[in-house]
Structures are given as structure tokens and as C-alpha cells.
């Protein structure tokens, strides 16, 4: 049986899938970045709601985090993918445009990932805020800082320092969740591997290659976060 040369299969020549896989990896990273960005915003909002003490805000935020942490990510993706198209079609119908409107898989996927990672971010920020020493905040108040100055110069930098490790974790999770978006047809890394394996009949090679690429992205991300953490930990007793 012909076993095509590994290099030919994954190289960058006309028969090679190397370029496609790298493109897929690029889409994966882009997808994860979009979802992660959405997640930081939602997480910040929900953490603020939980910490604010206002009962209604707290209840909404708590429901959000409990629900999103208790149901499978795949379900959320299905909701946004199938449901999103329906909602968009209805919306467009209201605005006069007839016919089925498809919500792009990328958008649905990014939204879904964003909503899920938002719940994870909430807990990270909440824990980080609690960990900030109240004494340092008090000293800020004592020198006459306004709430905004206090938040900007003291609270936020300190919260960030405590939040960074958790945020790194959430990024790694988001990266892995992006693989689920392949069910919507978006041509990210896993989908590319599926297409390749279907086309060449070599699933093991392709999924192994995909796994290695995910490993690579995860490792590089890990180093980046490690560096960032080291910077914020300057002068701290470890």
C-alpha cells in the first residue's frame, strides 16, 4: 500500500496540506481571540454585578455563571448556530428582507465561546478582586483619591495581577473550545483536519497533525502568559 511521504502530505507543495492546516490554525486563533475578548467584557460586567451588592444584579450574574458553567459548550454552540440563524431571519423579516438569513458559523461560534468564557472570567475576576488587600485600597482612599483614580491606579492593576493566572487558564480553555465550532462548518483547524482526512483517507495523520498544532499554540500561549505574570509579580515574595 502506498504510504505517501509525510513531508509531501503536510508540506506546502500542491499536494501538501501544510498551508491549509496553518490557515486553519489561524482561524482557530482568531476565533478564540474573538470569543475571549467577548468573554473578558462579559466577565468584567458580571463580576462587577456580583461584587456590587445590588441583589438584582447579583442574581442575574449568578444565574448566568451557574447556567453557563453547568451546561455543555456544545449545546451553547448549537443554540447560537441554529437559533442564531432563526433569530436573524426573524429580525431581517421584521426589517423587510424576506428569505432565510444564515448567521455565519464564525459569528455564532465566537458568540457562543464568548458567552461561555464570560462565565469563567467572572469567577476569575471575582476571586482576584477579593484577593486584593483592602489595606492598599484604604491607603488610596486615605490620600484623597477619587473613586476613578483609585480604580485606575490601585484597584485595577492589583486585580490584574491576581487575575492573570486565571485568565491564562481561561484562554487555554477557550482555545480548546474553539475546536467544537467545527460542527458549524467553520474551517478552523479541526475542520481542516477533517476535510483533509476525508480527502486522503488518512485520519490518523491529520488528527495527529492537528493535535500537534494545538499543542504548539497552547505552548506558545503558555509562555506568553508566563512572561506577563512574571512582569506583574515584580517585587512580590513568591
Amino acid at each position: 500500500m502506498q504510504y505517501p511521504d509525510f513531508l509531501a502530505l503536510f508540506g506546502f507543495g500542491p499536494q501538501g496540506w501544510g498551508a491549509a492546516l496553518l490557515r486553519g490554525a489561524g482561524v482557530t486563533v482568531l476565533l478564540a481571540l474573538c470569543g475571549y475578548a467577548l468573554g473578558t467584557m462579559l466577565g468584567g460586567l458580571a463580576a462587577w454585578a456580583k461584587l456590587s451588592g445590588r441583589p438584582v444584579a447579583r442574581a442575574i450574574a449568578s444565574t448566568y455563571t451557574t447556567v453557563l458553567r453547568g451546561i455543555p459548550d456544545l449545546l451553547v454552540i448549537y443554540l447560537f448556530y441554529f437559533g442564531g440563524s432563526q433569530a436573524l431571519t426573524w429580525l431581517m423579516g421584521q426589517l423587510g428582507r424576506q428569505g432565510f438569513v444564515d448567521l455565519p458559523g464564525f459569528v455564532a461560534g465566537a458568540l457562543a465561546i464568548g458567552i461561555v468564557s464570560g462565565a469563567q472570567h467572572t469567577e476569575v475576576y471575582r476571586g482576584a478582586f477579593r484577593a486584593v488587600s483592602t489595606g492598599e485600597i484604604e491607603a488610596g482612599r486615605a490620600v484623597g483619591m477619587s473613586r476613578t483614580t483609585l480604580a485606575r491606579r490601585i484597584v485595577l492593576p492589583l486585580v490584574l495581577r491576581h487575575a492573570l493566572p486565571g485568565m491564562g487558564n481561561v484562554w487555554q480553555l477557550t482555545l480548546k473550545e474553539s475546536a467544537l465550532v467545527s460542527v458549524t462548518g467553520v474551517v478552523e483547524l479541526l475542520r481542516t483536519a477533517q476535510i483533509g482526512s476525508g480527502s486522503t483517507g488518512r485520519p490518523f495523520d491529520f488528527f495527529l497533525a492537528a493535535a500537534l498544532l494545538y499543542l504548539g499554540i497552547a505552548s506558545v500561549s503558555g509562555v506568553v502568559f508566563h512572561r506577563a505574570e512574571a512582569r506583574t509579580q515584580r517585587g512580590q515574595r513568591r
Partner: protein
Amino acid sequence: MTDIAVRTQGLRKSFGSHEVLKGIDIEARKGEVIAVLGSSGSGKSTMLRCINMLETPSAGEIQVGDTVLRVVPDRHKGTRPADPRLTREVRARVGMVFQSFNLWSHRTILENVMEAPIHVQRRPVAEVQGEAMALLEKVGIAEKCHAYPMQLSGGQQQRAAIARALAQRPEVMLFDEPTSALDPELVGEVLRVMRALADEGRTMLVVTHEMGFARDVSNRVVFLHQGVIDCQGTPEELFGGRGSERFTQFVNA
């Protein structure tokens, strides 16, 4: 221009149903060094923290220099400062030194000292930096200016905290048990700095357990007991036996 540096009138503070301060009238003139003594629960720290409104009094008013701070009722918290902006303005004129130093851990010592003058008082950076370095020299830790707080000993951190308060060019300095969290051998270096400040003629209110400091450095001793001023007077008077029965018991404990 008043001669009064700090004054409280009818100061009351309750935490929930527990009344900690039951009406404190205290006054400090410019240049006075007042030692505030009392056992735990007497309310001495609370009183100090009411002066710069870190705790909002339940009743009464605070005067710093010519400015009077009042409280108004609040639906959720009982009372709140009548004028938050004025409160912050007063805080910038009052230097506070905490028991646990409370230096900002994400900034170097020099950055800590420069933070309030630049970001609250909005003074020019070059001027602030020069003054900050001079202050660090004065408290004896100039060489640590680029270190981070956690890299310093407790005594060094507290001296840095004092420099930070001094950088605000305060009219009054509040010390909340400044040496209580220090190892015994580090207490001396902080007391020395405080003594130098007193000799300069700074107005200082010092809540402390250091009897030596109260006796030798302060102009007046105020003894709090269960939320009221039990007795006050010069150190000679109180330590000489002319204080109240309770005070003598407290000192000899």
C-alpha cells in the same frame, strides 16, 4: 486663620447596634503631638479613622484647619459624608500612617511616595520626585527607592509609609498604632523618625501602645475608655499619678 489643626465635636460612631464612640470632643492645635491611649475596644483607632472619614461618623463633625466636614443621613449606610469632594480634599491634607503600612505592592518605594502628590494633588513630576527622594533620605531608606515594598523589612516599610504621608505636605499626621505590627527590634527606628517629626513641630495624633513615646515625646495624652475620653492631660500629669484611677490601672497592667 485658626490655630486649630484638628477638632472633633460630638463624634459618635456605631457599627450596627454596637456604639463604639459615644461622643468625642477632641482638639489639637498646630504643632501639638497627641498620644491616644486606651485598651482594645476603647475606640481609639475608630476615632482616628473618623478624622479623615475612612470611617463615616454616625454623628458629629470634624474640623481640619478651616474646613468642617459633616455627615448626612443615608438610607442604606446610616450616614454618609455631606460633601464627598470636600472629604477627598481634606484627606489630601491629612497624612495617615497605618498599622500594616499599606504600601502599594505594585509600585516601587519611590513610586509609592510620589503617587499622591502627582495623581491627587497634581503637582509637577520633577518637583515631586526631588522632594520624594529627600523624604526617603530623611527617613533613612533612600537606597531602597527602586525596591518593591515586599523586599523591605517591616521597619523600612513603615518608614517608607511615613515618607509617603509626608509627601502630601500634610497639615496633620495621623498614626494608627504605627509600631504594633513590627518586630521589637524594628520599633526603635520608626519611633526615632516619629520623634524627629515631633521635634520639627508637626501636628501629630498618634494612637499607640508605646508608653515611652507617649511619656517622652507627646505634648498631651488622651486616654479613651469604652468610647469616651476618660482623662487627658500632659504626660507629666497623667504619668505622674494625677490621671484617673482607670488610667493608672491601664498603665500599670
